[in-house]
Assembly symmetry: C2
DNA sequence: CTAATAGTTGACTGATCAGTACAAAAAAGG
DNA sequence: CCTTTTTTGTACTGATCAGTCAACTATTAG
């Protein structure tokens, strides 16, 4: 009982996620968060406790929306042969990253690399997302090797981890370059290495 | 003429570089920079103009010291066959990153991914370092293909860009994981893809 | 020597920071 | 209606932020 909340937690987290995504943890101010979420300071702090706790929740929200959608695409057989699914993942982020003038990239990757705000809790949240993607790619590699679409013999987990690294490296490169050909070379090279 | 400076620009930039490396741009305060460099606020601002200009100079200093030393190792034939040089680069950063409790990683990569402070000037400085490494790797791949150490036929620049991406991805993973085996898989996979 | 130039120092600025205090408001139970 | 509980809005906190300023110091030119 008591007075009911006037906001949806999900909607507020979506808004907070956008702020942290655009500015990073340290540069995002509580003022930004209040303005974007539409909540007053009292409500924000009553609901989430601190800027850092809200950051953690925003990262969780990112995992539950953006990251999980990516995993779903990878797992969807209708998205084509495994090689095409992996290619689509990379081509998709090239389009998304180059189209964004703010070059926000991937929130999980940003949270991993930003020195400020990377507590062990945040690192664990990011690590979980990284492992999820690794496992999804590993599953695809295993399938591909089983159907003969991919050459067998190499350890699927090693192949997956290498592909995943190239994927994150691609997103790092996309932070500072506009040259699509550079990024497409990474796609072609990573696919050739499967 | 006039009163001579009491400090060495290089030593001050080395100190400032450490601060930005440990904390990132936004979280580094002018107080931190004064304390670490030993300069008063007046001297710092007289010499470098602003926190952001000092950041740019620190990134340049990073390129001139750390990054260039890495390029020199890659270019040194005494460091072994090209495959061993590329392996040494990756194994070296695994050791360095895992040994650092603050997980500073690579300053250029941090500057690329941090949303705050990434002006076009900073992006250009980082991009230059990225291209330098790309070219160094590409040169090695070309040599390796020429001597028969590496299989020929694939475009050296594409191979280099893919390896470089895996390298940056490796450093991203090292920000949040302690598991050396995960990182070693990336090394083995990236070398197998050459 | 004096004048001119440049570097140093530390106090100071107004703005902004994350977080708190508290009273008004909105609901449910009785 | 009245008490209890929770949320809300806002004013407020002390701290800290990047950057400035003027007085002072060290040096060279003449």
């Amino acid at each position: 009982m008591g007075r009911p909340r006037e906001f949806s937690d999900q909607a507020v987290l979506d808004a907070a996620m956008e702020v942290f995504w655009e500015k990073g943890y340290e540069a995002a101010t509580t003022q930004d968060l209040c303005a974007r979420t539409g909540l007053g300071r009292g409500s924000l702090y009553n609901a989430f406790g601190s800027k850092h706790r809200l950051y953690e929740e925003a990262i969780r929200r990112y995992a539950a929306t953006r990251a999980d959608a990516q995993l779903a695409m990878l797992a969807d057989p209708e998205a084509g042969p495994v090689r095409e699914r992996l290619r689509a993942m990379m081509l998709g982020v090239i389009d998304a990253d180059l189209a964004d003038p703010g070059r926000r990239g991937c929130l999980a990757l940003n949270a991993a690399t930003e020195q400020s705000g990377r507590t062990e809790d945040v690192a664990a949240l990011v690590r979980r997302q990284f492992v999820n993607l690794e496992q999804a790619i590993c599953h695809l590699v295993t399938i591909g090797q089983g159907t003969g679409e991919l050459p067998a013999g190499r350890p699927p987990l090693q192949v997956a981890r290498t592909f995943q690294s190239a994927y994150y490296g691609l997103r790092v490169l996309a932070k500072v370059t506009d040259d699509r050909n550079t990024l497409l070379d990474v796609v072609d090279g990573a696919l050739a290495a499967l």
